[in-house]
Amino acid sequence: MSTASHPSPAPTLGAAAVRNTSGARTASMAQALNSALRDAMREDPTVHVLGEDVGALGGVFRITDGLTAEFGPERCLDTPLAEAGILGTAIGMAMYGLRPVVEMQFDAFAYPALEQLFSHVAKMRNRTAGRLPLPITVRIPYGGGIGGVEHHSDASEAYYTSTPGLHVVTPGTVADAYGLLRASIASDDPVVFLEPKRLYWGKADFDPAAPVEPIGRAVLRRTGTSAVLITYGPSLPVCLAAAEAAQAEGWDLAVLDLRTLVPFDDETVCRVVRSLGRAVVVHEASGFGGTGAEIAARVTERCFHHLAAPVLRVTGFDVPYPPPMLEHHHLPGVDRILDAVARLQWEDRG
């Protein structure tokens, strides 16, 4: 996996988006997230963590490991088992000036909290003409690829991206996991922070002292001249692998990591698409009504006359998430991505 992040794509696509990370250390994404929480709690006493098993256990993925030990149960609270109650309580805490970070244990277990999320979290600032902002970060481990049984692998981002009033952030690298979580906690707006479960354990260098990235900026992870793969979160490493494999077929693919789905970085995405004329959107969520539809639609609206082929989508199928032994057939892999790249009407190019 790529080890570097970059605040915005290099002005020319020829320049590699790689930054030297001084003071870097090696960590897994899970550890980087844990550091981000700890550092945020140390720096700002209004940051509070709450959720199921976030205390002594440190969360089922250990993202909150050690926080109760360091900050006490007041700051990192094991709640009763009720997601609407957790988020509803966090709303009240935010109303009193705290900055709650909520952990939902798995994607599908955030669903009981959707009413609180849609009807209050997303709307409170607007409903009160700015008087009651809710700086809440809702962390949700999402997506498949970890052999989880049903209800443990939903790629549920479409529910959040289609709800006005929420920021939706999802890191694809260790460094972004740290930086974007810090930025999300610091944001005065509610952020749904989607953590790609299957990237939790991958290690890379990262520098916690590096400046925190603003949310809302896509980054070019790999430059290329043939076409661009537009992706985010769990599918980023797959796209990088596909770009690698594509070289053998004579395609030089760029890979664009959105990092933030809302707000969307139209500027960066359109700049890249216009310069290349061919794009494939890749995500593991089901295709129909998925976030990829928005990406394809808006890129097409804005870049129509630069497109040599329709923006294609490579996604999970429109089926309930399959049992673990079959999930690899559902998840977009290198071959499925390359099949799509092959359908980008290269014949037109002559």
Binding site: T89, G92, N126, A129, F264
Partner: protein, 380 residues
């Protein structure tokens, strides 16, 4: 010892080797099956006469408020109004028992409680007028926005009260709900969180017999809604919701208990919605006139008049003062709601986020262009 430490023991059944932790005694948590009353009981004499007169005055003003708001719907000045006619004792008492730094979490029916807290009626009613979602400043007034998705405000009250307690500030949150709202999962989760956290919250359920058309008997089979408290480990209290002094006492006791660190209380106030669910509802479809008539006899203002008269506290001056204040409020409402509000269409894009996203900026430009084009056509 921190505020959360009291939770951290595991109760183990007593018959296990080495198990010591006793389980809580349910008896003190259970409400009396006959509701607490003050009026018509010797308890009334212990009330401060000033409080009783204040309650009377506020009930009279509150009734007038309900009437005037209902009239405004008929004149098209409010989009909809869910009246609390008949429930004024609960509305007024809920506002009165709270200190300045306490927070009120009202439901959509509780604008009178909001107004009784001191919020201007024009501001309290923007939601129902249709001009703005929340017209008042929740932070300044310590009053959460009127909450429409039923029971969803209950966990907010818990979170706010918990946060205040963590900060060592003696703030109590009072959440208002209806009988129907007690069936929602959010009610359950909020009460459980409150009890487990020992949060300084009071839950006031105004049991007015109906959730729109659905009677209590189709809503719950419990001995009383207050009996739900024991399942969370908090005390439940049942009170005659039309007996203003009784509601005031029961709530005051619960607020004081919460403020002193004693945790949450669930209060069920038995009352009745005299008007239809809203001006748009047809209550004849689901209830009978004799039922309504019986409750009119048990009207909170009637009860209060009877109480004051019995104590020799109802003089002409009080009656006049109350009536005058009520009329003044009604006149102010008529005047304030007479004109159409001046609204800025561009406010659609205000306060979605702290900073507008690029997408919202684009969309705002689009609307601005549309408005400019419309204005041009209108000018021609």
């Amino acid at each position: 010892m921190t505020v959360l430490d009291h939770r951290h023991h595991t109760p183990v059944p007593g018959w296990l080797p080495g198990a010591t932790a006793p389980r809580a005694d349910p008896a003190p948590l259970l409400p009396d099956l006959s509701p607490v009353r003050a009026i018509g009981t010797p308890a009334l004499e212990k009330y401060d006469p000033a409080l009783l007169r204040e309650l009377y005055r506020r009930l009279v003003v509150g009734r007038r408020y309900n009437q005037q708001a209902t009239t405004l719907t008929k004149q098209g000045r409010l989009a909809v109004y869910p009246a609390s006619t008949g429930q004024e004792a609960c509305q007024v008492a809920a506002a009165l028992v709270l200190g300045e730094r306490d927070w009120l979490f009202p439901s959509y029916r509780d604008t009178l409680a909001v107004v009784s807290r001191g919020v201007d009626p024009l501001e309290a009613l923007t939601l129902l007028r249709g001009s703005a979602h929340t017209g008042y400043d929740p932070r300044a007034s310590r009053t959460a926005p009127l909450c429409t998705p039923l029971a969803t405000q209950a966990p907010h009250a818990v979170g706010l009260a918990h946060a205040a307690r963590l900060r060592g500030e003696p703030v109590v949150a009072l959440a208002m709900l209806g009988d129907g709202g007690t069936s929602e999962g959010d009610f359950h989760e909020a009460l459980n969180f409150a009890a487990v956290l020992g949060a300084p919250v009071v839950f006031l359920v105004q049991n007015n017999g109906y959730a729109i058309s659905v009677p209590l008997s189709a809503q719950s089979a419990a001995p009383s809604l207050a009996h739900k408290a024991v399942g969370y480990g908090m005390p439940g209290r049942l009170v005659d919701g039309n007996d203003a002094p009784a509601v005031h006492s029961v709530l005051t006791e619960a607020v004081e208990r919460a403020r002193a660190g004693g945790g949450p209380t669930l209060v069920e106030a038995l009352t009745y919605r005299i008007d239809a669910h809203t001006n748009a509802d047809d209550a004849t479809r689901y209830r009978t006139e004799p039922e309504v008539a019986a409750w009119r006899e048990h009207d909170p203002i009637l009860l209060m008049e009877r109480a004051l008269r019995g104590l020799g506290l109802l003089d002409d001056r009080l009656v006049r003062e109350a009536a005058d204040e009520a009329e003044a409020l009604a006149a102010r409402m008529r005047a304030e709601f007479h004109a159409d509000p001046a609204l800025d269409p561009m406010s659609l894009f205000a306060h979605v986020f702290a900073e507008p996203t690029p997408q919202l900026r684009e969309q705002a430009e689009q609307l601005a262009a549309e408005l400019a084009a419309e204005a041009e056509v209108a000018d021609r």
